[in-house]
């Protein structure tokens, strides 16, 4: 139980940040709580590096929550962000959910490729291939008409 408490306190902020980024802040605390509840039930399976495993659980819960309600993860953006940041987030939003996930696990949640692969349940090699493709599509999105439309919507919101 003590080990669980240590992992809980250490990983709670990162699981919460993941849940907030992908399901929105209103659901983040509940998803985090549910993640650790499941982790407690499966404590025997918890690896020594628990974070990717916990994020894998959180990921399933985020997906379940998204099936139940519409959510746009960019709605939480602070109004005073600079234009480049807004541009990049808007471009990210035009990508598929899978591409967004690959990119944000590295760029936003600070995981290594091996850890991110664990979260997604794929091999590290597969992850690198998916990351390469996702980066290419993000770069492309920064200069497509879709992105221009997204940029227009940001200007007016």
């Amino acid at each position: 139980m003590e080990d669980f408490s240590v992992v809980y306190r250490e990983c709670y902020p990162r699981v919460l940040a993941y849940a907030a980024a992908h399901a929105g802040r209103p659901l983040a605390e509940d998803i985090t709580s549910e993640t650790f509840t499941i982790a407690w039930r499966k404590l025997d399976q918890m690896p020594s590096n628990a974070l990717p495993w916990l994020l894998g659980i959180a990921r399933n819960l985020v997906r379940a929550a998204r099936r139940q309600m519409w959510h746009d993860e960019l709605t939480d953006v602070a109004a005073d962000d600079d234009y480049a940041v807004i541009e990049l987030r808007a471009a990210l939003a035009t990508l598929s959910e899978a591409d967004q996930e690959v990119l944000t696990l590295i760029a936003w949640h600070g995981l290594s490729a091996a850890e991110a692969a664990l979260v997604l349940g794929c091999t590290t090699a597969t992850f690198f291939v998916r990351l390469h493709r996702a980066r290419r599509r993000l770069r492309a999105a920064l200069s497509t008409s879709n992105f221009d439309r997204a940029r227009e919507s940001w200007k007016t919101s």
Binding site: S5, Y12, E29, R41, L92
Partner: protein, 332 residues
């Protein structure tokens, strides 16, 4: 390409602030839940592994032992108790009395060399119901109100947290008590003393047993304390009891002696059946008083954490250690 990921990192949405109270409350709730039993695995399946392990173990035993490596000192283990408290108090002038609720979080880290107590964290005194709020407003929204029937006043509003540190605290008095329920009950009765009425002795004995159950003691002693508690005269067993946060457990109740504001009430202890750890202790009205119906908890102490930990005490910012606490109850 790397630059793109760096740029994306800059576009990370701000991390949400962790609500420490919610975090600890959830931890307490989660760890109070039962975990599924481990799956039994056939020994036969692992027999080759077991044989190999036995051979290695034998070889290790027969080999000359090297000098033991120097181990770094283990961090001290502390008994960590996190409680959320609520208490009702009747205040105001006799012509316009109203009820206020005192709520606060208390935390204790008790180690062999020092004990740290954090009290009145997130503390507040506020009118209990909307009706009470209306009466408080009628009274002119005072920041302090006299206790009805008492000699003090109650500060209404936020409480200031306090931190007390004791170096060289007294050793845990419950650790050496008998682990046999019958012997333990006799010992607790002796500690309670033979002054006063039998009811008073029974209540004191029950309170000691409840206090012992929240202390840093072995599991067999905790079980013994609960068994002893059940056999104290006047104690009755309660079935499934539900707490404010939805958790439930079994419990016991014993009629409580009156205070200056309340007369008919009983003290209940709710226990987690799986772990044997107490979940809450509360005083619950058994007769309506001051407009409060039967079963209203007039005092409640919910144990969010009762655990052994090596984590250093976490102190609230900006609070001077061992400064005089600013009690919500003040002289009139």
């Amino acid at each position: 390409m790397e630059d793109l990921l760096k740029d994306l990192a800059q576009a990370k949405p701000p991390a949400p602030e962790v609500d420490p109270e919610r975090m600890e409350r959830d931890l307490a709730r989660i760890t109070a839940m039962p975990r599924p039993a481990k799956t039994r695995t056939s020994l036969r399946r692992f027999s080759p592994v077991l044989v190999a392990a036995a051979v290695i173990a034998l070889a290790v035993v027969l080999l000359p032992r090297p000098a033991p490596p120097v181990q770094p000192a283990a961090p001290p283990q502390r008994w960590h108790v996190l409680t959320q408290k609520w208490e009702l108090m009747i205040v105001g002038e006799p012509a316009n009395p109203y009820t206020v609720v005192l709520s606060a979080t208390d935390e204790r880290w008790a180690g062999p060399d020092s004990q740290v107590d954090v009290t009145q964290k997130n503390g507040e005194v506020a009118p209990f119901t909307r009706d009470d709020e209306a009466r408080w407003e009628t009274a002119g929204k005072p920041t302090k109100a006299p206790q009805l029937g008492g000699h003090g006043s109650v500060r209404i509003g936020p409480m200031q947290p306090a931190v007390r540190k004791i170096d060289g605290p007294e050793p845990n008095p419950f650790a050496g008590l008998p682990a046999d329920p019958v012997e333990l009950k006799k010992t607790l009765q002796t500690i309670s003393g033979d002054k006063g009425s039998p009811d008073s002795l029974n209540y004191q004995t029950a309170m000691l047993a409840m206090q012992m159950m929240t202390a840093n003691i072995s599991d067999d002693r905790r079980r013994a304390a609960f068994e002893a508690l059940k056999t104290v005269d006047g104690v009755r067993l309660l079935d499934r009891m539900t707490l404010r946060d939805g958790r439930s457990g079994t419990g016991v109740a014993i009629p409580a002696p009156p205070t200056f504001q309340f007369t008919g009430f009983e003290t209940q202890l709710v226990v987690n059946q799986e772990t044997g750890l107490p979940m809450a202790r509360r005083n619950v009205l058994t007769s309506p008083q001051h407009g409060l119906p039967v079963t209203t908890p007039i005092f409640e102490e919910e144990y969010l954490l009762l655990e052994r930990t090596t984590i250093d005490p976490i102190l609230p910012h900006g609070v001077v250690v061992n400064a005089a606490p600013e009690s919500p109850i003040i002289e009139r």
